[in-house]
């Protein structure tokens, strides 16, 4: 059998059939205002940590909503909990609580 030298690439698309919902559901249960986010980016625009990192709560919420958890941890660890995002959110999402819940969820062994 010839060896072609190619390797199997993992799929690059977001597969909503396999969407990993555990963290999303955990946050939804403990802080229902999380559902209101329209990903407008007001939070990311004002974020203090956005000055020195890729952190933007909009990005984090979007990743969690699409089940792309692996990138969340690196981003969320930059949060200074300053609270500016909560003051500008036009949908009144309780952002600081969401962030603390994300930290908690990342440490829990959710299936």
């Amino acid at each position: 059998m010839p060896s072609f030298g190619f390797s199997v690439q993992p799929p690059q698309h977001i597969d909503l059939d396999k969407n990993y919902r555990a963290i999303f559901d955990f946050i939804k249960e403990n802080e229902p205002s999380f559902l209101r986010c329209i990903y407008c980016g007001s939070c990311g625009a004002t974020c203090s940590a956005g000055n020195f990192s890729q952190m933007s709560l909009r990005k984090v919420n979007l990743l969690i909503s699409r089940g792309q958890i692996s990138e969340v941890k690196n981003l969320i660890d930059n949060c200074l909990l300053c609270g500016k995002c909560q003051l500008v959110c036009p949908r009144n999402v309780n952002t600081r609580k969401v962030i603390l819940l994300i930290h908690k969820a990342l440490k829990m062994p959710l299936s």
């Binding site: 329209i38 990903y39 407008c40 980016g41 007001s42 990311g44 625009a45 004002t46 974020c47 956005g50 000055n51 890729q54 933007s56 909009r58 990005k59 500016k84 003051l87 500008v88 959110c89 036009p90 949908r91 009144n92």
Partner: protein, 339 residues
Amino acid sequence: MPRIAVIGGGIAGMEAAIRLSNLNFEVDIIEKSFSLGGNVNNWHVLFPDHSPARLLIDQLKNQLRDKVNILLGTEVVRTEYNNKQYILHLSDGTRLTFDAIVITTGFKVFPAQRKEEYGYSIYPNVITSAQLEELFQSEKPIHTADHRMANRIAFIHCVGSRDDKIGNRYCSKVCCVTAVKQAMEVAQRNPGSEIFLFYMDLRMYDRHFEDLYFQAQTQYGIRFVRGRLSEVSEKSDARLYLKLEDTLLGKPLRITVDLLVLMVGMEPADNSPQLANLFSIPVGTDRFIQPENFHLYKNRTSRPGVFVAGCASGPKSIGETLADARSAAFEVYNFFNNN
């Protein structure tokens, strides 16, 4: 002949009054300012066809002439209901009796200083879309507050709308297309300038709106960025330093501009809640007057004989406002002829 009071002398009030008088009703327009035309008096050209606002108002005024009683500088201070008639006590002391009421009090623009972080009324180069429209009345290039040519202008969508912090969750509907229109007008007056529109969504919902968007991009090179403005600060030369996020790229964005235009949304007119109270009709959680329902009876209110038209019952474009006013006039006609 039944007598109808039209409260509010903007285009909705004027159109309703014209149609009602054509249907042989006696009509009085009660307007709190000293001119007819309302908010449209402040506009320059209208979308989507760039027709002049002045022309629309003059056409309406011509049709009104000699057919309608116009009471300027007057407001309603008290109401009574007696024997199926409404007795209105006016601010000039007179009492008038009417058989039906049409409320067309329209809207006022969101007071932008309530959004502190945008620096309105603190930094002179931050203006509202209403103020920009006033500057369009002359064909001259747009200058900054310190008389420099504005070479870089930013427009911010959704100021005072879609914002639970302000208390206005609703969308004001027409500001997106207005922004595109105004951006093109600035580009015409200031050739070579860079113009940015910072939006959450682009609500190009009606005919030819998408064409305007297309024209803005291709003919005038206007740049569209999906992202919100979080803070404004002023540099030593009075230029403004903006802090935003480019949500499609997922990165914070910074830009220095000469002029910042805030697309302020609509809020119910100042006297609207008081009027709703006087007639005991409900307002929605968004504080606009609540029609009896949203489909068949959009112009009726919970009170028989009291009708509403135009932006008093929610944000509308000019075309929709005029259509609504006609529909209200017809509802009034039905009220007296199908009773």
